[in-house]
């Protein structure tokens, strides 16, 4: 499943719901479903707020079921992350003035089983997250 939406925060709930609908093919618990939606929300928010800095851009979300795993990619062609390790530190935020809590990557890491962040300055960021499904 591939979904492309303009990078506007008003599209976040639509993306969450769509990924949720795709994921419902798997036999997920309520908690697993909530975890997936929360992680997707964080990744899409990051793409919009940080990747595109609220300017125009397209956010791509790809979902795939591989065996007993759900793989989700969230891709932007925004400014990229200079220091991925720093960005992933709990409570670190590049935008404290906007009350960002700095918990986005921590939420993704906690709620998903694997998180890979690939980013290049000026080219964009690709987040790949996978969730193993207990009853898959």
């Amino acid at each position: 499943m591939k979904l492309q939406v303009p990078g506007k925060t008003s599209n976040e709930s639509f993306v969450r719901a769509t990924v949720g609908a795709f994921a419902s093919q798997l036999d997920l618990s309520l908690e697993e479903m909530a975890d997936i939606k929360t992680a997707v929300s964080e990744a899409v928010t990051n793409a919009i707020i940080h990747g595109y800095e609220c300017q125009k851009g397209v956010v791509t979300v790809e979902c795939k079921i591989i065996g007993e795993e759900l793989e989700i990619k969230v891709i932007d062609q925004g400014i990229g992350i200079e220091d991925v390790e720093l960005a992933m530190k709990p409570l670190y935020t590049s935008k404290p003035e906007e009350e960002r809590s700095g918990m986005g990557f921590t939420v993704m890491q906690t709620f998903m089983d694997r998180l890979v962040v690939e980013s290049a300055l000026g080219e964009g960021t690709k987040i790949t997250m996978t969730k193993r499904v207990a009853n898959g």
Binding site: S13, R16, A34, T38, S41, E42, E98, S101, G104, V107
Partner: protein, 120 residues
Amino acid sequence: MNTRIEYAGNTLVAKLEGELDQHVATELRTRLDDEISKHNIINLIFDFKGVTFMDSSGIGVIVGRYKKIQARGGTTMVIRVQPQVDRVLEISGIKKILMCSREGENRGELYEVASTGENI
């Protein structure tokens, strides 16, 4: 997201309904800050009963208001949270700095303060 604001003396109760993400966070923050200064609010209660989803944008809103209320010498509480919201609150560490209760959890001391004449 719908926000219903109620007052009990200098305590503000924000009854939230819907999904709390980045899209609604900015507006909610502005609205609460306006109410806090306009009505000289000391204590703030976030009533999350109607919140079906929250991501870390909500943490930003809660922590920001917590700091504001703390500077006024007041208390901030988050009550009646649903399981999904509870998990986000849990990993954020926010439960260590302010009082939180889950939906259905009996924490009399919270309800007493939170009571605004309506049965909750």
